[in-house]
Symmetry: D2
Subunit: 337 residues, 4 copies
């Protein structure tokens, strides 16, 4: 932590700040310039609220320097985390595509969609059994019956499964059907849920909150990892900005940024970011070209009849075409598909 004193502040102010830091057990390194003094603070500064010192007389600014996240940082672990689940390797040379319907609706819908996406090259089947809905008057999901269908369809097609968990009480019941538990954007800072997921030994796919900074997102992953579950997959899905033409603004830069800051795999979800089928394909290509480890994408065998998010679901033939386009792109980023 660095404390910048105001220009020409009396020496007594500098001393008061220094004394308080020493009293709390920190080492203080002082740099005195022509008209300004800067204090470097060494020790376990994570325990300090920087604002406490900002309020001291004569302090201009307090700057945090050590990143508050640890386990997810590249400084802590240089090598990329590779997650293996049912024969699928996430974070390695293969780009991994996770596809399927927003919501599990019926056996026909799910098996039909699963076969089509598997044939095109998807390795993980997605499908929601518990749904967070902005309005209380909307369909809330099939629950455990849906999860059984998800497992069966994935088994038939030799795929792994990913599905969203919304509260602690659901975790136990999901473990036998779901390979990767997904935390939705609205729950990215549901700390009780994150802590509970730190206790299981299955990968967690953590979506970025709609208004979460990259640092907050990494801190949320820390909640899971600090419980002993190190298999976290980060998923960018768009942030909220003033631009309302698209549902959210996909933060494409987050992909190279996370790649530098963290060893965790990073994928992205173009379907929720943009909210409309005709924009999903360009974004999916962009995500892979930017270097992501994979995609999470909505496909429905008959989108007009989907109970939820039909307009952002690809037709199976569009998905197959997209996979062909991605196969052209991956060599440019040194990957395979």
């Amino acid at each position: 932590m660095v404390i910048v004193m105001e220009k020409h502040t009396p020496e007594s102010n500098v001393e008061r700040v220094t004394a308080e830091l020493v009293r709390r057990g920190f080492d203080v390194h002082r740099s005195t310039g022509v008209d300004q003094t800067v204090l470097g603070v060494v020790g376990d500064v994570a325990s300090i609220d920087p604002r406490e010192f900002e309020l001291f007389e004569g302090v201009q600014e307090v700057v945090r320097i050590s990143e508050p996240y640890k386990l997810s940082s590249r400084q802590f672990k240089r090598d990329k985390t590779i997650i293996k689940v049912r024969g699928v390797t996430i974070g390695g040379p293969d780009v991994v595509v996770m596809a399927g319907p927003c919501t599990i609706e019926s056996e026909t819908q799910l098996f039909e969609t699963a076969r089509r996406v598997a044939r095109a090259g998807a390795r993980v089947l997605r499908g929601g059994a518990y749904k967070p809905r902005t309005s209380p008057y909307a369909f809330q999901g099939m629950g455990v019956e849906g999860l059984k269908l998800l497992r069966a369809a994935a088994d038939e097609c030799n795929m792994a499964t990913v599905s969203e968990v919304m509260e602690i009480g659901q975790i136990e019941g999901m473990l036998q059907y779901v390979d990767i538990l997904q935390v939705g954007a609205r729950n990215m800072q549901n700390f009780n849920l994150l802590s509970a997921l730190g206790q299981i030994r299955k990968p967690v796919l953590l979506k970025r909150g709609m208004s979460a900074t990259i640092q907050e997102w990494l801190l949320a992953s820390e909640y899971i990892m600090s419980g002993g579950n190190y298999e976290v997959i980060l998923c960018e899905r768009g942030i909220r900005t003033f631009e309302t033409y698209t549902r959210n603004t996909l933060d494409i830069s987050a992909i190279p940024v996370i790649e530098k800051l963290s060893h965790l795999p990073i994928i992205a979800d173009p379907s929720h970011a943009v909210g409309r089928r005709d924009k999903v394909m360009p974004l999916a290509r962009a995500i892979i070209a930017a270097g992501a480890d994979g995609l999470l994408i909505e496909v429905h065998h008959d989108p007009e009849k989907a109970v939820c998010d039909g307009p952002q679901s690809l037709y199976p033939e569009q998905f197959a075409r997209l996979m062909d386009e991605l196969r052209i792109i991956v060599p440019a980023v040194g990957r395979r598909l």
Copy 2:
């Protein structure tokens, strides 16, 4: 709902959209202009995802017109909702000030602070027993022991109590100590929690999510109200913007906007919005001058020693001064304090 067709689109496109609407049971009113056709759709349009029609050939734009929230709307109930709790009336002519520490730390801290804020005119005592913390390495609250202290301190000072609930499992245990259950900004779209709070019969103070639109906020209140609990108090606490000088940007306009859209009481929390004591007082005055029904504000008898958010807590003597300033302002908005 209104569907705007593209200029000069062929008649067959207009007919295809119309046919689909009629098939689903809606009435369609058609306006044909020189170069553009507009379709008015009448019926239970809440069940339509507007994007479905945006994807029809020839459709330029689909515009939702009925507000999706109902119970919280002024159109549904013209008269302002007035909430009475332990002799305190929220939403009436009195401005109600809720004050106390961020976190309950000890008997001394809580009783000392409660006496000071009560003497200055606060009517509701705040204090957190369960704390959402961005980092997993921080103090997580005193739990039920804290709630008992809260009740005792409030009883001594003849105040009502407000405290944050973080998950469903905590509700039952809070009911005997807490008069108003607070939902924090991070949980504004925790739909399971909101539904559970719809089943109790105590007022709920619902903070606005950091990136929630006013419409989403009202929809969140709908989750509570649709369960039968109509006593919701809305609390503005700052939104996330590009400006990082303050922790959040207090959306002061939300106060008159909510006043027009909804019959629910609206208060604001300047402490979390701005995050620093020296900016809390100007914002608190502004909130009352803008017409809010009350304030939620952090006060600590000894902020330097606070375990949490000390830098944004007022000293008791500052709080007393603020109350004096507010007493000058309230006649300008036709209120009392």
Copy 3:
């Protein structure tokens, strides 16, 4: 400037950074902790682009510490700047209200409005003669003829005048009619215009850009002041956020923030921030309660017939009522009106 090295980075990386800094003539103070090294850089660091050092091997973060603005800073000048113009004192104990129509339309409109606002207590008459319009198909202003009317109406009512300047070529012609030249939000970073305004000796009212940080706003004022014109009045008018219910989000916190960072007077414009008459009055009260030095507000003697921004213009009788409300509030902030 402070350079934070990555944890456990080899000594050679620290030396390479240090050598480059010394080569450029800076003094380097080094703090070595258990696992991290921090370098304090002293000298004229304004000339360094921090990203240059971020790109060195082993550098985690580069933190700027001296504020890049100087002349507008409280550190440079502790005493508040007080601007006197035609008997009106801005930045002193009086709250100054500037009022009038958005656009000058006719003699009747301007004189009628001027008389009404003067009678209610406004001291400066506003009115646009050159208009920035988002669409090229809209009315662009009366030009010099409008300015003559503005001067005449203000003289009759014993007021000062404020009007917007849009390009360098207009400055010369405005000087004889206008007492305060206003720079609109869209031009806040029109550096050529700002530099030209640094050459005149009349006060400049500088609106905050719709997406400008407080630091950029102060830097823009620096462009004017570095030319020798120290009479800058800052005007908050709302920033762009994801919330679209109001035209912009008035950043009420900017008022106490500027008050702390800068000695320049700070006022706010509720009319453009909120864009609708029925929200203007609550915001105007909030602005004064937050401690602003004044208001810029749109009033029209007959808003239904206004060519521009009629819906956000107050009726003269509303304006008079607002002034009465403000007279109640000002003692709470130790001001007069």
Copy 4:
């Protein structure tokens, strides 16, 4: 335009609104539902400020439906605009890469850089002679001397040129050296400058403002086109959001959105969006994969010595590598490079 009346509002309110619309010469189509009335307004509604009707008693919402931009709209012109300049075709099957230094500094710098980017496949040479700088204390550009160098270097390498214009007075002097005049993000709503550029007959590259919506951006292009200059190239360069890890947030979705709404060519500038060399290459690949017509990118033969934006400039060998990667990607979007 559509006017939505409040539920159960008295018939007299509906009549009052209708009468006013008819008085102004509009046709009104009325849809009456069970509890709500909707009015469709037909005529030249561009002249109406929707807020005027929002303020009528009983009006819930006024919705604009015709897009206010015309000349840039796909509805106005279905075929993509193709711009030819010095043998380069922008908007056709070829992806066009514009590259060069941020600022023209010297003959050596410019020629050296030009040769390297031309050899790698760039077709347009960029370089700034007039620089907008956030701080008044920074280098402001070489002016006309720089433009002469730009022309000479481009001629030697058989390239077209692009350079930024900052004010009207510069246009005339630029025409003989510059093939494409660039309008920077800060000037996107400098309407006087845009109008002046509508009078010339050279292509204009219009950068999106940092906080401009897509609609405002298209309206800005309208200012140029309504003067008779139809050759506008749109350039996405990042918008301002709460995420501060990158300089701006590149709005990658804007590429397919513009492709749908407008016939104008759309390119993007990854260098300014992200601000750091190590993130530029992933974003450049993403931009092309998303379907853009080209790239504007900063390259410097010796970035460590650049006077401006060195840290975001690619080394020539990085640029050559990027071009090779793009050659892999372009077939996926049916383009050539």
